[in-house]
Symmetry: C2
Subunit: 151 residues, 2 copies
């Protein structure tokens, strides 16, 4: 077993998971704040130079785990590791956000899809992307095709 401690918390407009856009075509454009604990502020040195960040966080209001589940983007069940479902063996969330500005230990970001008060476990610079032509999006692309939506 590994123990993790929050390095800070998310300030989000979302108070209830029902409020977070989900399913096909959901856009995550909400602005919010990553409030990092003062003792970790030196760890943010030079982060302003990156346009996008990975935020690794904890689904602290999710309980239990379903290895196979039907998620809002499809009416067919899929394995939990092929989805972003909160009910995972380890309740870890991952979000790419755009960094708008930093004020000391506080990062203002766009692209929040976490609940207010979500514990943050880690932040890393988002460095590279997989070329579009090499990316396959599995059941999600199929669900989009069935629904007539574009990615």
């Amino acid at each position: 077993m590994l123990s993790m401690q929050p390095i800070g918390h998310v300030r989000s407009p979302y108070r209830d998971s029902q409020d977070i856009p989900k399913g096909l075509g959901a856009k995550h454009e909400a602005e919010g704040v990553l409030e990092i604990r003062a003792e970790f502020e030196p760890g943010l040195t030079d982060i302003e130079g990156f346009s996008h960040l990975f935020v690794i966080w904890a689904f602290d209001r999710s309980e239990g785990c379903d290895l196979v589940e039907t998620v809002p983007s499809d009416d067919r069940p899929h394995g939990v590791f092929a989805t972003r479902s909160p009910r995972r063996p380890n309740p870890i969330g991952l979000t790419v956000v755009e960094l708008l500005c930093r004020k000391g230990p506080v990062l203002h970001v766009r692209g929040i899809d976490m609940l207010e008060g979500t514990p943050i476990l880690d932040i890393k610079p988002y460095l590279s992307s997989v070329p579009q032509e090499r990316l396959r999006r599995g059941w999600l692309a199929e669900a989009e095709a069935r629904s007539g939506r574009k990615p």
Copy 2:
């Protein structure tokens, strides 16, 4: 405090962290295996449809934390959250791998940069990329420019 359990382990050609390509221009093309625990195999249902996966794992052989550190890609120090340094407040690693094939609970992948035996905490589908023209790569782009390297 949050507790996490390994969902499986990485089979990697790297036995020592010195063996892992690091620094500017390092390529991660090594092939390896994500060996998921048999009890979690149903969670892999439909994962074959995705070309790339996020692997969230634990730096189990890293001790302690440096909030500001000089990493192999630059001769100037940076905050830990602006780097992929293993010496982090929570020793969480994140790697994007290409999924080559699945055999039951075993995923053959390319792009391994973890040590042999590294505990895996979570796997998620890699879904989207930030458009290249909107991406800024901070101190890393500067270090590349100083060294005459291209990203």
